[in-house]
């Protein structure tokens, strides 16, 4: 039976019937993308039906005094080419009946009526269950309230009202700009626990007004609004309103305005809240006003205006570009495209009537599909962050409804859909090939497996120059940055106290020597204690002398004399043990990398046994290779000959340059003001650098090391990443 065949074997069922549209049905003409459509609306049941002009020509002729057959024949005579065939008429009448738009003469089988009702309830119940993330409970019929309140505030929804609205919004924007720093500062506390209750209350109030905004505009243009209720959006109750009656508005702009009504009201309220906030001191009023401002701006921009989610923006977009049921038809279009071009179904027909429409649908379908997955994944994980169990339940539901059910449906479709009858062989082959290719690509073929870690260049031979005695820096004997030999003086200290002490020690020693001579002659009993005192003084003198010699700080080995703050040094008092700089041997360098725990696993997985000892990265010995790129000279790849894994977790960074405070990428521990401790402990891996690396190796230069591990299929890599993600986030 073809959909558009002229004759139908079921024609006898309807041909002699006297049918007409239900008297209450209202018909409106609408234009979509330059094409005429007719929308039938039953105001009692709020059911809609959209018709093409040819179908409308038929429906419009239905009358209780005429049989379907005579109407059909008239249509056929008047529009021989376009008139619907019998099959199409039977289908159309069936759909009109299902939508309760038909009036028929016979008292129907009442039981059938009840059956239909029961069936619809079942269908709605099932839809509600499967759409548990957006569970709806209708609560109240706001129609009368809207009519009455429109009498009071109706003037606001007029051109004059619009100007007022613009003025208020403009003023509010100015206020926000004026108080921008306060606005920004307070936003950090928006999610603070103490604020949550206010935030939620503000949201409920605001969203109720938002929904009433839709209702007011819908009512203003004549649509009835009969349901206001609670929707549990991801288990958070928010209000909703049913303005489907606006679908039959003739003007697309009116429909757009109804769609935007919520935001119009919300922004207005937000603007008023801005004034209150700006003129109130800290306190509950201030805080609530701020919350209202925040929700109205953020939620409006992120959620309501976004056409990719099924909120206001979606309906506005679909009215603006004349594509009703955009989402549903976009999916149909995607399905059509894949059926036609991938599976090879020849008579698959596109829901679009023009090329432009098809492009719109396909584009929207693809983008919104991807976006939805991302948003839901985000929601899922943030819920799981708070309530582990709920997150798991949601994940299970999503897994079943997004993966298991669609896969099952797809397999059934592939195996037994009559649409694929002619091309089932090809369709199955294409899908099987695609799946096999995917499995091969992701699960079997080894893929490059690498990770990077930040690190810095350090000289292998280096020493800190430490002042072994306290003193004032007299001068730098050698200019910083210069080459020094071992033993060469670097800087001189001066310490008057030390000189005085030296003088006094020498004097004391002379005194003791004198008294020793005296004791030899007269008081032999004093000899021994004096002897002991002399030893002590000699020691003291020796220590002071060594301190004196230490005032000339020398290089311990050959190298470059590096002083971080050389200009501040002369004249400065340094305590004993203060490091003033480095002597760095520029001949050999190594690269110290901080490998995160997640990546270290991969490194250890194959190389743990050799950890602790240098690991030559030679093709003969190891399947691991590593190379380094230094910051500023990323074009030059420095090969690594061997690495040395330090087999212990560390949390002190080799250089502050690796932490956030030094412009690096490791998060520092909050407790450390110097930014030298990382929030998360890491493993240190030292890599030897070749003598001729092609770049200037300077101690302290930062860069990134890239480890290339043995190739491994993507799937394996992703599973590990996911497991690590779960472990890190949920301690699973």
């Amino acid at each position: 039976m073809e959909a558009n065949s002229t004759f139908s074997e079921s024609w006898h069922r309807v041909s002699g019937q006297h049918l007409a549209l239900h008297p209450a049905v209202q018909v409106r003409r609408q234009m979509f993308r330059g094409e005429r459509w007719y929308v039938l609306e039953h105001p009692f049941t709020n059911q809609f039906f959209r018709l093409r002009p040819v179908a409308y020509e038929f429906v419009a002729r239905l009358h209780r005094d005429r049989t379907i057959d005579s109407v059909w024949r008239e249509c056929l005579e008047r529009f021989p080419a376009e008139a619907p065939g019998q099959e199409a008429v039977v289908r159309l009448l069936g759909q009109l009946y299902q939508a309760n738009l038909l009036q028929y003469e016979s008292a129907t089988d009442t039981s059938a009526l009840f059956q239909r009702h029961e069936k619809r309830e079942q269908r709605e119940f099932r839809a509600r269950i499967t759409n548990v993330m957006f569970f709806r409970i209708p609560l109240w019929d706001p129609d009368r309230f809207l009519v009455r309140s429109l009498g009071v505030i109706g003037w606001l929804f007029s051109p004059a009202g619009f100007l007022l609205w613009l003025a208020v919004i403009g003023l509010a924007l100015k206020t926000v700009v004026d108080h921008w720093s306060a606005v920004r500062d307070q936003s950090q506390g928006i999610l603070a626990p103490a604020n949550l209750a206010w935030l939620y209350l503000a949201m409920v109030g605001l969203k109720t007004l938002h929904e009433l905004g839709h209702g007011w505009l819908c009512r203003k243009y004549g649509g009835e609004v009969h349901t206001l209720g609670l929707m549990f959006m991801i288990f958070t109750p928010v209000p909703y309103v049913d303005v489907t009656s606006s679908w039959s508005f003739r003007s697309a702009w009116q429909r757009v305005l109804v769609g935007a009504g919520g935001m119009i009201v919300e922004l207005f309220v937000a603007a008023l809240a801005t004034f209150i906030w700006a003129r109130s001191g800290p306190g509950v009023v201030h805080s609530v006003a701020y919350n209202i401002m925040f929700i109205a701006s953020v939620s409006t921009l992120v959620f309501n205006l976004n056409p990719l989610l099924r909120f206001d923006g979606y309906y506005i977009l679909s009215d603006l570009c004349g594509l009703p049921n955009l989402g549903g038809r976009a999916n149909q279009e995607l399905r059509h495209l894949s059926e036609k071009h991938i599976l090879g179904v020849r008579d698959s027909s596109s829901p679009a009537r023009t090329g432009g429409e098809a492009a719109w649908l396909a584009g929207y379908g693809a983008v919104s599909g991807v976006y939805r997955v991302i948003v839901f994944a985000g929601v899922l994980f943030s819920v799981a962050d708070r309530y582990m169990l709920l997150g798991v339940v949601m994940l299970a539901v999503c897994f079943v409804s997004w993966i298991v059910v669609p896969t099952g449906k797809f397999v059934t479709y592939l195996g037994s859909s009559p649409r694929l009858d002619r091309v089932r062989g090809r369709a199955i082959a294409v899908v099987a090939t695609a799946v096999a290719a995917l499995v091969l690509l992701l699960g079997v073929i080894p893929a490059p497996n690498h990770f990077q870690a930040p690190g810095i260049v350090e000289a292998s031979q280096r020493s800190q120059v430490v002042c072994e005695t306290a003193g004032k820096v007299l001068a730098l004997s050698t200019l910083p940055g210069g080459l020094v030999r071992a033993g060469q003086p670097l800087l001189a200290l001066t310490n008057r106290e030390l000189s005085l002490e030296l003088v006094s020690a020498r004097a004391a020693l002379a005194e003791v020597d004198a008294r020793l001579h005296q004791a030899l002659g007269e008081q032999a009993a004093n000899y021994r204690p004096l002897e002991a005192r002399r030893v002590a003084l000699t020691n003291r003198l020796a220590r002071l002398l060594s301190d004196q010699s230490a005032q000339i700080v020398t290089a311990r080995h050959d190298g470059v004399w590096v002083v971080p703050a050389s200009s501040e040094l002369p004249g400065r008092w340094v305590a004993r043990g203060t490091a003033v700089g480095w002597v760095i041997n520029p001949g050999t360098h190594e690269f110290t990398a901080t490998v995160s725990q997640a990546d270290a696993d991969r490194l250890f997985h194959s190389h743990w046994t050799r950890a602790g000892t240098p690991l030559p990265l030679d093709a003969a010995v190891s399947d691991l290779t590593a190379r380094i790129r230094l910051r500023g000279e990323a074009g030059v790849v420095v090969p690594v000959r061997s690495i040395h894994i330090v087999p212990a977790e560390r949390d002190t960074l080799p250089s502050a340059a690796l932490g956030w405070q030094g412009g690096g990428e490791l998060a520092p521990a909050k407790s450390d003001p110097h930014g030298l401790r990382s929030a998360e402990s890491f493993f240190e891996v030292r890599a030897d650098l070749p003598s001729d690396p092609g770049v200037r190796l300077v101690h302290g230069r930062s860069g990134r090391i890239r480890f290339d591990l043995p190739a491994e299929p993507y799937l394996q890599q992703w599973v590990r990443l996911f497991a690590q993600f779960l472990q890190r986030r949920y301690q699973l």
Binding site: M1, E2, N4, S5, T6, F7, E9, S10, W11, H12, R13, V14, Q17, L19, P80, A81, E82, G85, V90, R91, L93, G94, Q95, Y97, Q98, L102, Y104, S106, A107, T108, D109, T110, A112, L113, R116, S416, P418, D421, R422, G425
Partner: protein
């Protein structure tokens, strides 16, 4: 006998389960088909067998009295009838012995119990299904609720009713028949009997006509209202009714009636003048004549479809530029042309129809019988008439339509018998809630199955078949060759004639002759050629001395789309423990292969038939079955949709 007690009642079929319900339903079906059911029935049959002595010594008169008592108990209904089920069965068995000279075996009693309980009894050919059904029919007929025994053709209807009449008379139930040629008063009489023999098509046609007669007051409540409002009119309508109603049915050859024939719904139509349609058919024929196969349109043999190519569409648009009306719109125009091309490509004179004078008469492809009353769907018939350049008849307009799938669900109690139900058990349960129970053979089957033969070309196949027939014929054994079509039968007969053998071809226009020929096919040295469908339900009894020579040999010259039909043919050899043998032949040029295998597989078949034949034939049959199942499903789906969506129309 007052007829007003039950005028046209039936069960309103419940919607088929969907989703999870369907899965549970499927599991229930498996439970209901479990093997313990058969064992339980066998045990009960054994108990009935034990009571044989209670009735053996009774005089005829006393047995009649006992049967009358049972009848009363059954008629009172409920548990009372059930409590005397086994003794009643034993008494009926004795009655069958005395009236027909046939004493039902224990396995037949088991079959009776299965039918009584609403099962589908799987009984091999020749195991006495007719008698089994008769005993079950008596049990049901005693209650006076309408019972229909459905067989495959009118001949069997009359033969069975006549043959079993003594038994029914003895058991005090009335029996009636309804066949195609009968007028309404006779039909009414047939349906008024306790037990009615008829065919599925006749019953459904009567049912539809009765519903038409009720004109809008089909529903029980509506009828009640109508009868209160206008009693005269209501009574007049009820006068016209033919049926008492639908309550129980015993379907013989259940798989062919419930499955094979259920592909197309039954349609009652009336010719109605439609000049526009006839004119467009003529015009379409003229335009189609300009189109060339291959360039302007392609032919899809498998789905029996014609598709216009882009060239064809362009050509057509060019030709129709000056036309008006229907021909202006591409969709309508192409539909008409496709129909004309379908008439040209798939409907061949001499195969699907013959031209008798100035009329196109449909020929039943399987039996070769002309069917003057039948016509193809609206438009197609006219397209074929236009092609043959005969005056166009008035298009038949459908006035009532119902699928068998829906119809058989209108019975309160459906049961059936068949020789080959196993592979359809799932479908029979899913659609009709008919659980299958296998009934053991009375005597083990000793039929020899000779290895299947596969050939690259049809001519090789036919010469091998002829050789085989010549060889077996020499041994004096009777041979039955089953063919797919009347054409094939004639072809084979011609070939045999060249070798000097005389074969009887089932090509008769009268069913009675057909059954006679089949019944005689067991005589020594006889060669019978019949289409697979011909002579169903008729036993082939072996002639004198045939059993000693090896019994009947059956040759299947071409495989049917359903393996079940193949097995039905093979089952004609070696019935009731007789000796017999069977062999199947197939070639790569058979219609089954051409329609259901892709070109690559077909060429593999042609290259090495021996190696690939068996696998590929099985595949082609599976493919064909899948298509058939899908067709049946779509018929059912369309039915369901119409019922739901057009509920405002009184059926």
């Amino acid at each position: 006998m007052s007829r007003s007690q039950a005028i046209l009642t039936w069960r309103e079929p419940e919607p088929l389960p969907r989703g999870l319900d369907a899965a549970t339903h499927e599991l229930t079906g498996r439970w209901r088909r479990r093997s313990a059911v058969g064992a339980r029935l066998r045990h009960l049959a054994g108990q009935a067998d034990d009571r044989a002595l209670d009735f053996r010594e009774l005089r005829d008169h006393d047995l009649r009295v006992r049967l009358l008592e049972f009848r009363e108990q059954f008629r009172r209904g409920g548990s009372e009838g059930e409590s005397v089920l086994l003794p009643a069965l034993a008494a009926l068995r004795e009655a069958a012995d005395r009236t027909l000279g046939l004493r039902p075996f224990v396995v037949q009693l088991q079959g009776v119990l299965a039918l009584h309980r609403g099962y589908l009894a799987e009984m091999a050919t020749g195991e006495g299904k007719t008698l089994t059904a008769a005993l079950a029919a008596v049990l049901s007929g005693w209650t006076r609720r309408p019972l229909h025994i459905l067989t495959v053709n009118d001949y069997l209807v009359e033969r069975d009713a006549r043959w079993l009449a003594p038994l029914y008379e003895f058991a005090a139930v009335s029996v009636g028949t309804v066949t195609g040629a009968m007028r309404p008063p006779d039909r009414r009489r047939g349906h008024a009997a306790d037990i009615t023999y008829t065919t599925g098509k006749e019953l459904l046609a009567d049912f539809l006509r009765d519903r038409l007669a009720l004109a809008g007051t089909v529903n029980r409540h509506q009828r009640l209202i109508h009868s209160l409002r206008s009693p005269g009119e209501s009574a007049r309508r009820e006068e016209q009714l033919v049926l008492r109603g639908l309550h129980s049915a015993i379907v013989d050859e259940a798989d062919s009636i419930l499955i094979d024939e259920a592909v197309t719904p039954l349609i009652i139509s009336m010719p109605r003048p439609n000049e526009a349609l006839c004119e467009s058919a003529r015009q379409a024929e003229k335009l189609a004549a300009e189109l060339v196969a291959g360039t302007d349109y392609t032919v899809d043999a498998r789905h029996r479809e014609v598709r216009l190519t882009r060239d064809g569409e362009a050509h057509l648009a060019e030709s129709c530029r000056d036309q008006v009306g229907l021909w202006r719109g591409a969709a309508r125009r192409e539909e008409l042309i496709r129909q004309a091309l379908t008439a040209r490509e798939f409907f061949l004179r001499g195969k699907q129809y013959v031209v008798d004078g100035e009329k196109v008469v449909i020929v039943d492809e399987f039996t070769g019988r002309p069917m003057p009353q039948r016509s193809w769907r609206q438009g197609l018939h006219q397209a074929i008439e236009a092609k043959e350049r005969v005056p166009l008849s008035d298009p038949a307009e459908t006035i009532a339509r119902m699928s068998f799938q829906k119809f058989f669900r209108c019975f309160h109690r459906l049961s059936g018998m068949t020789g080959t139900a196993r592979e359809s058990a799932g479908e029979l349960w899913g659609l009709y809630q008919l659980p299958m129970v296998p009934i053991l053979l009375n005597r083990p089957c000793i039929r020899a199955l000779w290895p299947d033969q596969y050939f690259a070309t049809e001519s090789e196949k036919w010469s091998a078949i002829v050789d085989s027939i010549v060889q077996i014929h020499a041994s004096g054994r009777p041979i039955l060759a089953g063919t797919r079509s009347v054409h094939a039968s004639e072809h084979l007969a011609g070939q045999l004639e060249k070798r000097g053998l005389e074969a009887r071809v089932l090509n008769a226009t009268r069913l009675a002759d057909e059954a006679m020929i089949v019944a005689m096919a067991g005589e020594p040295s006889r060669i019978t050629i019949a289409t697979n469908m011909a002579g169903r339900g008729t036993d082939i009894r072996l002639g004198a001395g045939v059993a000693e020579r090896g019994g009947l040999h059956v040759i299947a010259t071409e495989r049917h789309e359903s393996g079940r039909v193949d097995r039905q043919l093979i089952g004609r050899a070696g019935r009731q423990g007789d000796p017999g043998s069977a062999q199947q032949f197939a070639s790569a040029e058979d219609e089954l292969v051409v329609r259901f295998l892709p070109a690559a597989m077909r060429s593999a078949f042609t290259r090495s038939p021996r190696q690939w034949g068996s696998i590929l034939i099985r595949r082609a049959q599976a493919q064909a079955q899948r298509l058939a199942v899908r067709q049946r499903q779509s018929v059912l789906r369309a039915d369901t949709w119409l019922d739901e969506s057009l509920a405002f129309v009184p059926e």
